[in-house]
Symmetry: C2
Subunit: 115 residues, 2 copies
DNA sequence: TTAGTATATAATAATTTGCTTATATACTTC
DNA sequence: GAAGTATATAAGCAAATTATTATATACTAA
């Protein structure tokens, strides 16, 4: 039986606040299974590019999300090495799968990242 | 193997936002093992009574917390019947036990509820 | 019934958040 | 190197959040 990772209460509150936004929570849920770039999120959420960039920045600042440049695109991924990943994971387990959003993108020919 | 309860993404974000506050998160962690009244929280957090009441109201409005009057006091407890309790529980598991806060209260003779 | 304790609520002020608009940077392709 | 695409960032603003102050309600005890 693996021990449950403990998270400092103050840090936990910070993470929950970060994820207490529908857009960011959905992003993290999607990133848990697929890497994505900004323009994919923009298409998925019907949001402006700066709005998405700003959400991503918060996720990056927390260390939950990492980035890699691939040519023109910057591919974002969940940082599974984060000390808080197990905590986040146990939230994500309760959320419904969001793969349909990526499938919609594919249908529209807007899927970029390949993972 | 019990299935993991699924929570609508929008509702999940609302709950995470609610718990994304150090005071409310600590309250919920404490209420998971002990009932408490407002004046106990006031003493524990060194916060004003209206500030605590307003935090509690939000928790009540979400359905996560219930109340019972006991004479002069209103005793708050975690609503384990809430549809979102399993979700909240899997967060709380990652938080360090806060019993020391109640023990401090007892030492100061400020513990009210008996559970 | 009056005083005291516990709690809620309303009004307001301070802070934070998340968006928009405008612009800058980085890469690709011609 | 010029044009196009992807992304970041800064400034400004509106909405949401949280605390404070002041007051009201509910119960207890004298």
């Amino acid at each position: 039986m693996a021990a449950i990772s403990k998270v400092d209460l103050e840090k936990a509150a910070t993470i929950l606040k970060l994820l207490g936004d529908k857009t960011r929570l959905t992003m993290i849920k999607i990133l848990d299974s697929h890497d994505c770039c900004v323009c994919e999120f923009v298409a998925m959420f019907n949001a402006s590019q700066p709005a998405i960039s700003q959400h991503i920045r918060k996720l990056k600042d927390s260390g939950l999300v990492g980035e890699t440049r691939r040519g023109q695109w910057i591919i974002y991924s969940l940082n599974k090495e984060s000390e808080y990943y197990p905590f986040v994971c146990s939230l994500l387990e309760h959320l419904p799968n969001q793969d349909f959003k990526l499938q919609q993108l594919e249908k529209q020919g807007l899927r970029i990242s390949c993972d």
